[in-house]
């Protein structure tokens, strides 16, 4: 029995994979993107969210079997609609044993993982083999810039992406569009070049930045001070569409 830490379970999550599904948010992330809209998901420890209406504890330690039981309670809905569970975060791959153990217990339903791709290849491989769909976030291809904004090098991420493409597992590329950070045509073209040959790429999902992402920083005692202009709208280029990749804006 493996234990993990989660910070939210959302029923009827409609942007996170096929059918009716529940999304589990795992707490803790090795990246520290300044545009993160779930800043309470960055720390691996429970913490208080403080708002006008009161103080709530964010972060629940849970065993993989307990989580599986909770998720499988709605198995009937998942089975009749081709849905299931999506793990996101935080970075779910940062709790590999918990995630792997959990995925093995929910075999009968559709499983999706949303990841930054930041994990050792061995972990990534095993998790990919256990899921039906990967939502793979790609932010910036340039490694220096990636490090500057997210705090980590993207070498491992690109390696995992290559593996994902070669594995032919169904995947969706998710790209947050941050004004002045990665919303250039060059960056999009360079992402395109990474995935242009992918056979199992279902589509690209663009997530334009919205300043409501800053809403929760105060609640965890952080100051929201992104190194870009949050009031600016990101540029959107039709790079993927122009190259016949199905693209949607979330």
């Amino acid at each position: 029995m493996k234990e993990g830490i989660i910070f939210s379970i959302e029923e009827f999550a409609i942007q996170d994979g096929p059918g009716i599904r529940t999304t589990v948010f795992l707490k803790g992330c090795p990246l520290s993107c300044p545009w993160c809209h779930n800043p309470e998901g960055i720390s691996f420890e429970p913490q208080y969210l403080i708002s006008k209406t009161g103080k709530t504890l964010c972060g629940e330690k849970i065993s993989s079997s307990e989580l599986a039981n909770r998720i499988l309670k709605n198995k009937d809905f998942f089975e009749s609609t081709g849905g299931g569970v999506t793990l996101t975060g935080g970075e779910p791959l940062a709790q590999p044993n918990f995630v792997i153990d959990f995925l093995k217990q929910v075999e009968s339903i559709h499983k999706t993982i949303e990841t930054s791709g930041y994990a050792p290849l061995s972990v990534f491989k095993e998790v990919v083999s256990l899921v039906d769909l990967v939502l793979f976030d790609i932010k910036i291809t340039d490694s220096e810039s990636h490090k500057m904004y997210t705090g980590v090098d993207n070498h491992m991420i690109l390696e995992n992406l290559n593996y994902l493409i070669s594995s032919e597992k169904d995947f969706i590329v998710r790209m947050p569009l941050i004004p002045g950070v990665n919303d250039t045509k060059t960056n999009m073209l360079s992402i395109y070049s990474l995935i242009s040959d992918a056979k199992s790429l279902i589509r690209v999902e663009l997530l334009p930045y919205h300043k409501t992402a800053g809403a929760k920083y105060g609640m965890i005692g952080k100051i929201y001070d992104p190194p870009f202009d949050p009031n600016k709208r990101p540029q959107i280029f039709n790079v993927f569409e122009d190259n016949n990749i199905n693209t949607i804006i979330l």
Partner: protein, 689 residues
């Protein structure tokens, strides 16, 4: 939407046609009842004469681009009784709401098909039979007089149309004075006339029933004959829908928008065939394009209904119309049959103004005659908790309280008086044969009782069961003191009761079984009850407006709710709980046997509008609705709202004239609602993500 419809929509939305309206006092019609009283006219005579006078004073108006005509030019309908007379009637009778026939589903199609000439012949034939008393003769003559007045009224419109060069309109109206409709366009015009006259007769909550079923033959016939193109049919349909919004602000209701113009699509035939047809689909499309609150659409579905129907319905939900509302044939039909409706009639059910299941043509049911506060039944027993040693003991007290209140309630519904409605009678089956007004008797004369505060009652019972009887964390004195003091000084206890106690809507069998038991008790309490017309009583899960007054006077409840705080509208989870999500809500709310609460009342699910961004999300909503139906839900209504928009609309109503919200059983314009209703809508969203 073509330019003609677009312009007409704008014209109506800008209220340009209001300039034709006159008040009864400007026409000398405001004191009709004084004259009626002096002349000693019977109620039937008064009803006939009022309609006659009103129609004579209506002036024909044809709005720019219209082909389906008839617009109200008299702003209100004068009473037929003087104030003294009415007071006298009220003293000696039970009066339901406004005291006129309302909220039933007429048989429009028979008159549309046969025409007035044949209807007249049928009445005349009945008149020559010798088995009539004086009242019967008076009634049948009233029907004839009504027809004559309406024919004359149509003639007036015909002549006017002709005089301004609207030959086609004039021709249609000429034909419809005596004959039945032959084309789709004529059928829509005829329906508009009949509906217009019902409102003019002081009937209200005049529903449209199974519009797609009775209009379909006209549509198909025109298409097959090649005399109508599909786009033309669609334009006519849109125009008809628009016409439902012309005079609707004059229709009586509790709030603007509460006008009962509900329309039912789809359904299952007695032989099991899906009845959702091409016209049903066109209705959804028309409503989507027009984006107006009337008519309010209901879709009859069942476990085999195609996902695509739900998807089409969800497009309407997405734009925030607050409809369609779905009702489940698999539950409603057997539920109605259990209550004594014939299988054939049950298969033909329609939906009343809000959600009540009613029978077209034959039903004079009053499905909203009263409302029982289930939560108050529970609360009033709490004081006797100390006399109970088990939860079962306590529940027996609650059951007894429900029975006592139901007994007292049904006693009230005696000696009912409803104003006669000869024109409505003409549109109901069996009235000519019986020679009796529909206000007096029909094939079905059942009454329905709303059940309010269901979730609050259930959550309160669950809290008592767990904390008082099981783990004994709460003593009698503590609970009574906390409730009495509205939890002031008992904040920790309130927190436990609010947030830790089991709640309906979390897919928790512990509490959901209590809900099943409570609804069963409600049904059982009404089981043996008969009203003075021989009808039965039906229990329901709707609240109507009672969610406001049943909560404002209600003390603090054991579920942690403060005194006076809101209770949910209809069949929905308590307002302050943080829900797990719609899947758990659906699973919880479909556990009780809802065939028993067949008076109706929907589970309401609310979504932020940002949820539905693309087609994929609509398909998922469709899947969710289908799951509700497959699990045995009886009725479902979905709202899409943006809370920020609502808050802004309170401050800047002028910039949100189009903002539509679902109130309790109907959609209205948010800025036209009283503040108490606005606030309830907003508070329903406060605990959502």
């Amino acid at each position: 939407m073509n330019d003609r419809i677009k312009n007409l929509r704008q014209y109506i939305f800008d209220k340009n046609h209001h300039k034709y309206r006159r008040k009864p006092e400007e026409l000398g019609l405001d004191k009709l009842s004084d004259g009626f009283c002096e002349r000693g006219l019977s109620d039937v005579e008064r009803s006939v004469e009022r309609l006659s006078l009103l129609l004579k004073n209506e002036i024909p108006v044809i709005l720019p681009g219209e082909s389906i005509v008839f617009t109200r030019t008299i702003s209100s309908i004068p009473e037929i009784f003087t104030r003294d007379e009415w007071q006298h009637i009220e003293q000696s009778h039970f009066i339901h709401e406004r005291g006129t026939v309302s909220n039933i589903c007429p048989n429009y199609e028979e008159t549309i098909i046969k025409g007035f000439k044949k209807q007249k012949e049928a009445i005349e034939k009945r008149l020559v039979r010798k088995d009539l008393d004086e009242k019967g003769v008076e009634f049948l003559n009233a029907l004839l007089k009504g027809i004559l007045d309406v024919q004359e009224f149509i003639k007036k419109y015909e002549l006017y149309a002709y005089s301004i060069g609207e030959k086609q309109i004039a021709d249609t109206l000429h034909h419809l004075q005596n004959e039945g409709a032959e084309t789709f366009g004529e059928a829509l015009q005829f329906l508009r006339i009949l509906h217009f006259v019902l409102w003019e007769s002081s009937n209200y909550h005049n529903t449209f029933g199974r519009f797609d079923q009775y209009m379909y033959p006209f549509y198909v016939n025109d298409i097959e004959k090649g005399i109508l193109k599909k786009e033309e049919a669609f334009d006519l349909l849109e125009e008809f829908f628009l016409s439902c919004n012309k005079d609707s602000d004059l229709y009586p209701g509790i709030q603007q928008g509460d006008n009962g113009q509900s329309l039912v699509l789809g359904g299952t035939s007695i032989s099991g065939e899906e009845q959702f047809n091409e016209l049903s689909e066109m209705c959804l499309r028309a409503s989507l394009e027009l984006n107006l609150i009337d008519p309010k659409i209901n879709i009859r579905v069942n476990k085999n209904t195609q996902l695509s129907i739900y998807e089409k319905g969800s497009e309407l939900t997405k734009i925030g119309l607050g409809f369609p509302q779905y009702s489940n044939d698999d539950i409603v039909i057997p539920g109605l049959v259990n209550k004594g409706y014939s299988l054939e009639d049950a298969h033909n059910y329609a939906v009343a103004a809000c959600w009540e299941f009613i029978i077209p043509k034959y039903g004079m049911d009053i499905p909203n005659i009263d409302a029982l506060s289930l939560v108050d039944c529970v609360l009033s027993c709490v004081i006797n908790l100390d006399s109970c040693s088990t939860y079962a003991d306590f529940y027996r007290l609650v059951e007894r309280e429900i029975q006592n209140r139901v007994d007292r309630m049904c006693e009230k519904h005696k000696n009912i008086y409803i104003e006669p409605s000869p024109f409505m009678s003409l549109l109901m089956d069996g009235t000519i044969e019986r020679a009796k007004d529909i206000s007096l008797i029909a094939k079905y004369n059942n009454y329905g009782i709303h059940g309010t505060g269901i979730a609050t009652a259930v959550d309160s019972l669950a809290a008592i069961k767990r904390y008082y009887f099981e783990n004994k964390e709460i003593t009698y004195d503590l609970l009574i003191a906390a409730l009495k003091n509205d939890f002031i000084g008992y904040e920790q206890l309130q927190k436990t009761l609010r947030y830790d106690a089991p709640k309906m809507g979390q897919d928790d069998d512990y509490v959901d079984s209590i809900a099943a038991e409570l609804l069963n008790s409600f049904d059982q309490a009404l089981k043996e009850k008969r009203n003075e017309r021989g009808g039965i009583y039906r229990a329901g899960t709707g609240t109507a407006l009672f969610y406001i007054n049943h909560s404002s006077n209600l003390g603090a409840t054991p579920d942690g709710r403060n005194a006076g705080a809101a209770i949910p509208a209809n069949y929905s989870p308590s307002i302050f709980i943080k829900q797990k999500g719609p899947v758990s809500v659906i699973k919880s709310f479909t556990k009780p046997d809802l065939k028993k609460t067949i008076n109706g009342g929907p589970l309401t699910l609310e979504f932020d509008e940002t949820v539905f961004k693309n087609q994929e999300s609509l398909s998922k909503l469709a899947m969710l609705i289908r799951s509700f139906i497959c699990l045995g839900g009886h009725q479902l209504q979905l709202n899409t709202i943006n809370r920020d928009k609502l808050l802004d609309a309170k401050v800047h109503p002028e910039s949100h004239r189009n903002l539509i919200v679902r109130v309790w059983g109907w959609s209205g314009y948010f800025v036209e609602l009283d503040e108490v209703y606005q606030n309830h809508v907003i508070s329903r969203f406060e605990y959502k993500l």
